[in-house]
């Protein structure tokens, strides 16, 4: 059970605004972790630090034992699903082309995709249930389908670590459930997974660890420990009540203004 990601007392600031403060976190091989927290809590920044896109002002980051900004060939072991809202969904591309992008790092500069690359892309599409859409233009997909395409792109590079930023954004409720079920299956097959969500309740039913972030690391533990905790209630600044619906703990916030 090696440690794949290790953050030690990481602080990140954009100009004068501190976005993350003194965050220490470990992700071990086989974990399925959700980072939750309100908007502006620094969740996406945390992912960007791990991906090597943002450099901390203090503290150290190690991914596969190396500085993420200098990962070299290890980079191909990370699959990333960005927030789809940041991607131009009217870009003239077919699903198979988008998924193939996940292979580019392995293919290398200048070279063309081989039969093995096409095979890997096809397998990734089958795994996420979008193989039948291979020739569809990206612009004609539903939110749930689009998310599965981006997940297939991340899987196409055959990663050891999967990182997802708000995978359920823009996805309707039934599609969200099946998306998380897919992530759980992938995790069962041995994929270490780290995702960010503000959707506290649904996530908790699937993951094996929850990290509460609100600029600082507020709580960290198994879902049932964290979700009932005093810290979480404090983080949202109000009384949060949890109840169990089936196996899934759901959170209800006492007053609407708590979220604002």
């Amino acid at each position: 059970m090696g440690v794949i990601v290790e953050l030690d007392r990481v602080t990140v600031a954009y100009r004068t605004v501190t976005v993350l403060e003194d965050v220490s976190l470990k992700v071990s091989r086989g974990n399925f972790l959700a980072v939750i927290g309100p908007n502006g809590a620094g969740k996406t920044t945390l992912l960007k630090v791990i991906l090597g896109l943002v450099r901390p002002v203090e503290g150290t980051v190690r991914v596969f034992g190396r500085d993420p900004r200098d990962l070299g060939a290890e980079r191909r072991a990370i699959g990333y699903v960005p927030q789809t809202a940041t991607v131009d969904r009217h870009f003239p591309l077919r699903v198979a082309d988008v998924v193939m992008m996940g292979r580019y790092r392995r293919i290398g500069l200048v070279r063309r995709p081989s039969a093995a690359d096409r095979e890997a892309a096809r397998r990734a599409m089958e795994r996420t249930g979008v193989a039948h859409l291979a020739n569809s233009p990206l612009g004609r997909l539903s939110g749930g389908q689009r998310q599965r395409v981006f997940l297939a792109r991340a899987l196409a590079c055959e990663p050891e670590l999967l990182i997802l930023d708000e995978p359920a954004a823009g996805v309707d409720v039934p599609a969200t459930e099946s998306l998380y079920e897919l992530l759980r299956d992938l995790h069962k097959d041995g994929l270490t997974t780290l995702l960010v969500s503000h959707d506290v309740g649904v996530v908790a039913a699937f993951v094996d660890g929850v990290v509460c972030l609100n600029r600082r690391l507020v709580a960290h533990g198994r879902p049932e420990e964290v979700l009932g905790s005093e810290e979480l209630a404090q983080m949202y600044g109000c009384a949060a009540v949890f109840f169990h619906h089936g196996r899934a703990p759901h959170m209800v916030v006492a007053r609407d203004e708590c979220w604002s």
Binding site: Y80, P82, L93, V98, M101, R105, L109, P113, R140
Partner: protein, 270 residues
């Protein structure tokens, strides 16, 4: 008109025009998909300052134009990074500044150039043997770079953040794209002119975009439309005795209008 085609100057113009039409459209695909149309216009107009400086110094205006185009592309990037201004604001500043420099340089010249008209608005009569050689060298060179970095330029255009995560040199690829735009502008100046060059970059690619949802197909359609626009535009301009650059651009615009109409009417699902 057949007599005209028999003339060497016309053959030269047709060949150079076709090459430049292909070149502009291929680079235009990336320009359109990256939202760099205004950047293209900015770089195009920056060449005016360069051309005027070339005349003033008595050296080949296209050489100084390359310097101005690259300088503008680099300067816009620098200003955008170092200030909190948006890119279009930086382009607006460089656009006006390079044009103003051009006018200043012209004023410093005794009895200023009749030639300049050819650069501003394009003229088939102004296409020299040298210009043809430039098109013959530049077009395959730029196309080779595009072919070489085909998938990388596509990735960076579509999803730069993901491309960075995948370890691609995103900033360098973006710079490469701007260099290609600058070289393309210089290659096309003599055919369509400084004022209209950005239209020849944008219109064929925009027309192609209307006709397909497939990037690879767009990469074939755009240069076909670009070449057809310059060929038809040049021939039409001879036949109707109209300005060549303007006629080419209007033909390309007509292609775009037809493509946009097709997308809405006959091809409801693209």
């Amino acid at each position: 008109m057949l007599e005209l085609i028999g003339h060497t100057f016309m053959q030269r113009a047709l060949l150079a025009g076709t090459l430049v039409g292909i070149l502009c459209a291929v680079v235009g695909v990336y320009v359109v998909l990256n939202g760099l149309s205004f950047m293209g216009a900015g770089i195009g107009h920056a060449s005016f300052g360069g051309v005027a400086l070339g005349f003033l110094l008595g050296i080949n205006p296209l050489l100084t134009a390359v310097v101005f185009c690259l300088g503008t592309a680099w300067g816009v990037g620098l200003v955008t990074r170092k200030t909190s201004l948006r890119e279009d604001t930086a382009i607006g500043i460089f656009f006006a500044c390079t044009m103003a420099l051009g006018i200043l340089f012209l004023g410093l010249m005794p009895g200023y150039g009749v030639d300049l008209f050819g650069y501003l608005f394009g003229s088939i009569l102004a296409v020299t043997r040298q210009d043809l050689w430039l098109a013959l060298l530049l077009t395959p060179a730029v196309l080779a770079v595009v072919a070489l970095f085909y998938k990388e330029l596509l990735f960076v255009s579509f999803d730069p953040e993901m491309a960075r995560v995948a370890g691609l040199p995103v900033d360098r690829l973006h710079s490469l794209l701007l260099v290609l735009v600058a070289l393309t502008v210089v290659g096309a100046i003599k055919i369509v002119g400084i004022v209209l060059v950005s239209a020849l970059i944008v219109a064929p690619a925009a027309a192609a975009r209307q006709l397909t949802e497939d990037f690879h197909r767009m990469m074939w359609l755009a240069p076909s439309i670009g070449a057809a626009s310059t060929l038809a535009g040049l021939l039409l301009s001879c036949w109707l005795d109209t300005a060549s650059g303007a006629t080419i651009v209007l033909v390309a615009t007509a292609f775009f209008a037809v493509a946009a109409a097709l997308r809405r009417g006959i091809l409801p699902t693209g």
